[in-house]
Symmetry: C2
DNA sequence: GGTTGACTTAAACCATGGTTTAAGTCGTAT
DNA sequence: ATACGACTTAAACCATGGTTTAAGTCAACC
């Protein structure tokens, strides 16, 4: 089993060390061992857990939810059903959020189209103006 | 032009009145008129703006960004190009976020599958145990 | 004409999710 | 042996995005 220091984990996952300490304190990263000097040693398992924590964060699960999930992981197989329920619910929440974002994207696209067209007509008006000025000057 | 009171807007968009007041204070809802008694009157235009603000919030644009956008809207056609750029950038950010979420969803699906299978095997083990006990009792 | 109910304000308060600071301990390279 | 860099802790601090509170105004109904 290979262990990583906090700086290695920080570099690997691109997460500040302060955040990793904060996650430990909040119970998101449980049972981290220490070396003789008291420095954290992250096991493979913990890094795998960190990976899923990052996925849960990327899908906006609040820290408290992740905390609950991690507690259940630590508790072991007796919590499998609760974890299954949690992940199923979370999946639905994420799907709902994604579709909300997609609806918003459409509205944003409408804006983009409108602004593009406005740019074009403003451009045309400028040209017309130049031509008109040209005629008047001839 | 029809105007709405704050309670009507709150009900229509399902946003607390306190939040609408906060948005006004932060400059997200500019130029709101008042009746003789000092109560807010939301115009059609402002409600259209509120709708796009909600879309921008749903796609996680920070209040400061929305503020900037609204300032440009108020400023008028001379800011069309900047608004176009902003919306194009924001669209890319949203697409990136959605794809991050979709990657996470796959990891969540893996968990769901794993937990389902574990439930099944735990179930089977229980049945085996029952059968074994049955045989021993015969 | 007094009590409701809907609104107003400024300012204090809150939750979330970290980040920063200060003071101190190791282990190693010079 | 000492200086340096990497780490430790607890506690204070911060940004974001609201929400709540307290004190007051107004219009309308009874």
């Amino acid at each position: 089993m290979k262990y990583c220091s906090i700086s290695e984990v920080s570099a690997k996952f691109n997460i500040p060390e302060s955040t990793l300490r904060y996650y430990e304190k909040k119970g998101l990263l449980p049972l981290i061992e220490r070396d003789e000097a008291g420095r954290r040693l992250f096991s493979e398992n913990q890094m795998t857990l960190l990976e899923i924590i990052i996925y849960l964060k990327n899908t906006h699960m609040p820290v408290k939810g992740i905390q609950q999930y991690v507690n259940w992981v630590v508790e072991g197989d007796s919590t499998t059903e609760r974890r299954l329920e949690m992940m199923k619910n979370h999946k639905q929440a994420v799907l709902a959020e994604i579709s909300l974002m997609k609806v918003a994207l459409k509205a944003i696209d409408v804006k983009i189209t409108r602004y593009k067209n406005r740019m074009i007509s403003m451009n045309n008006e400028m040209k017309d103006q130049l031509i008109k000025n040209g005629e008047e000057e001839v």
